[in-house]
């Protein structure tokens, strides 16, 4: 019985390795490709016996990845901060002071989650052109922030309702603190777990966004990484090595952050979706 059990466990571990290997395949292909010469027609499965590091330098400058990284960092960071400030602030009265108005506002905001804002892209594009904000980082920030506000409010409101004790706020109120003061000094620090979830979810999705970016950020100097990569891919479809080098550099930062903080990422993203 014991040895049979051990054999079964070894078999299952073998299956786990097989699954892991299968999921690594596309990354492995990307890596081998990224080091090869354009003229190297050997199988993509075989790692080259040389490393053409110039691929990375060329891809970096030709795809304008430096500018693109800067833009992605600015857009992601500001959107995430705005989401945390505006989302937490909005959720507090919606979760705490359930007047008829607040209930209606809450359900209105939550119901927007079902309809992806992308379905209204055409009229949104018109609006952006009309207010003269095409090709600005500002519009990317505003669009991304708005798109994730409903989920953010949902997460914060749920957390405030279920975990933040009312007594603390009431004590502070009796001590004469104002509503905003109570919120920032007492409630907000208690919201750290959701704030982490919101930060992770919004950073990942805004960093990776392509659909908003391709509509609103077409100039070279405001392009995010995804837009820069799409443009670069279009120009270099015949030189897959160069594209693979660009793709590898593009996914590296988020992958490194993920590997260091994977526990928080997995909890955060799953936590957000479980509640969402």
């Amino acid at each position: 019985m014991g040895s049979r059990n051990r054999m079964l466990k070894n078999l299952l571990a073998g299956i786990a390795i097989f699954i892991a290997a299968f999921h690594i395949i596309p990354f492995y292909i990307m890596i081998t490709t990224s080091f090869k010469r354009e003229s190297d027609f050997s199988s993509k499965w075989i790692f080259p016996d040389y490393l053409r590091l110039e691929n990375f330098a060329e891809a970096w400058s030709q795809a304008h990845l430096g500018t693109a990284f800067m833009n992605s960092i600015i857009i992601t960071a500001i959107s995430a901060v705005l989401l945390i400030i505006l989302g937490s602030m909005a959720s507090y009265p919606l979760a705490r002071y359930t007047t008829r108005l607040n209930k209606a506002v809450y359900y209105f905001i939550i119901s927007i989650m079902v309809v992806p804002p992308l379905t209204a892209l055409v009229p949104l594009y018109k609006l952006v052109v009309d207010i003269g904000m095409m090709n600005t980082r500002t519009i990317a920030i505003l669009n991304n922030t708005t798109a994730f506000l409903p989920l953010t409010v949902f997460l914060y409101a749920g957390f405030i309702r279920s975990t933040v004790p009312r007594e603390l706020e009431e004590a502070a109120r009796i001590d004469g603190a104002g509503t905003l003061g109570i919120f920032y000094k007492i409630v907000f620090p208690l919201l750290k777990p959701v704030t982490a979830t919101v930060l992770i979810i919004s950073s990942v999705f805004i960093w990776n966004d392509y659909q908003f970016a391709i509509f609103f950020l077409q100039d070279n100097d405001v392009q995010t990484i995804t837009v820069a990569l799409a443009g670069f891919f279009g120009q270099n479809q015949s030189n897959l090595s160069l594209v693979a080098a660009a793709a590898l550099m593009a996914v590296l930062p988020m992958t490194i952050v993920f590997l260091f903080l994977q526990k928080y990422f997995i909890q955060g993203l799953a936590g957000g979706s479980v509640k969402g």
Binding site: N208, Y210, I214
Partner: protein, 307 residues
């Protein structure tokens, strides 16, 4: 129960100090959020409804009212139905695959075996990568010229295939890539669900002589119902609005063969300069997503009650 408590604390806090009466709704705290939502979601949405009754080309300042012209065109346009069919395949196909594969992975990696943690991380990794770039990464695999798949086929003595240009294949390749990317989320949600099931149920079932399969069917599956609901709603919405992967792998082609509603809207707007028609397609998309995700929610919520 908590409602009563809340009512009590509400009234006591009121009577304790009249100054802290909660007379207003503190609306100024959610005003900025509401303004953003109205400006960038609600207003464009209704403007889209308005534009669907015009012939706006997307660039000029003038347009005319054309009544139901765009809707008539949409319903008689064979491309609409092709695109709706593809969108449903992307939405429902990915949902089915992600749930089945995600559940199998979760069942395996919930066991106390070696390599379970590292496998979980590797399966999960694509979730944090841009779907567009994930599309390009798979392009290196499926590409006709120098793709990794053709390298194997040639080695095994088969002919090269142009999988991404084959309309019977590329739609399913897109489903596969989307599933590959997001199966990690389904797996994690199922793992969380499995870990919340108390061991006592299984012990009791074992004492009663239930087989592993019976335990799975009578205990695991019903108690996973909430996880299944979440996964189905999430994956359906994600699959129905698929854009980036299609853009990266096939560009919607050949012709319109792998176009989804999102990529078709993009194409109508920028390539065909028919913004009003693109807006009309957007409204159809809202309807489809609403109907499917709400019916999934209602159906699986009712199952949860039974369980």
């Amino acid at each position: 129960m908590s409602q009563l408590e809340r009512k009590i604390s509400y009234t006591t806090s009121k009577s304790l100090k009249p100054k802290i009466r909660l007379k207003n709704s503190l609306w100024f705290m959610y005003l900025p959020a509401l303004l953003l939502i109205f400006t960038f979601i609600v207003y464009p949405f209704f403007n889209g409804v308005k534009l669907s009754f015009t012939n706006w080309n997307g660039f000029s300042q003038d347009y005319e009212w054309v009544g139901l012209e765009q809707y008539k065109r949409m319903l008689t346009d064979p491309t609409t139905w092709l695109v709706v069919k593809n969108t449903l395949i992307y939405g429902l196909g990915s949902t089915l695959l992600q749930n089945i594969v995600g559940l199998l992975y979760a069942l395996l990696l919930n066991k106390k075996i070696r390599f379970k943690s590292v496998t979980r991380i590797i399966v999960y990794l694509p979730v944090i990568i841009s779907p567009l770039i994930m599309g390009y990464i798979w392009y290196f695999f499926f590409a006709y010229q120098g793709g990794a798949l053709n390298d194997i086929l040639l080695l095994l003595g088969f002919d090269k295939i142009n999988a991404l240009a084959n309309p019977n294949m590329n739609v399913w390749i897109i489903v596969f890539v989307n599933t590959f990317q997001f199966v990690g989320i389904a797996m994690i949600i199922f793992l969380a669900g499995l870990q919340s099931i108390s061991n006592e149920y299984y012990e009791a079932a074992r004492i009663d002589g239930a087989s592993s399969f019976q335990q799975f069917k009578k205990i695991t599956l019903p108690l996973l119902a909430p996880s299944i609901t979440i996964n189905i709603v999430l994956n359906t919405i994600g699959g129905l609005k698929l854009f980036d992967v299609i853009f990266a792998l096939t560009g919607g082609g050949p012709g319109n063969a792998s176009q989804s509603m999102s990529t078709y809207m993009y194409d109508l707007y920028f390539q065909q300069q028919n913004a009003a028609y693109a807006a009309t397609q957007g409204i159809l998309m809202v309807f489809i997503i609403l109907i499917l995700s709400l019916s999934a929610l209602v159906y699986f919520k009712s199952k949860e009650v039974e369980a």
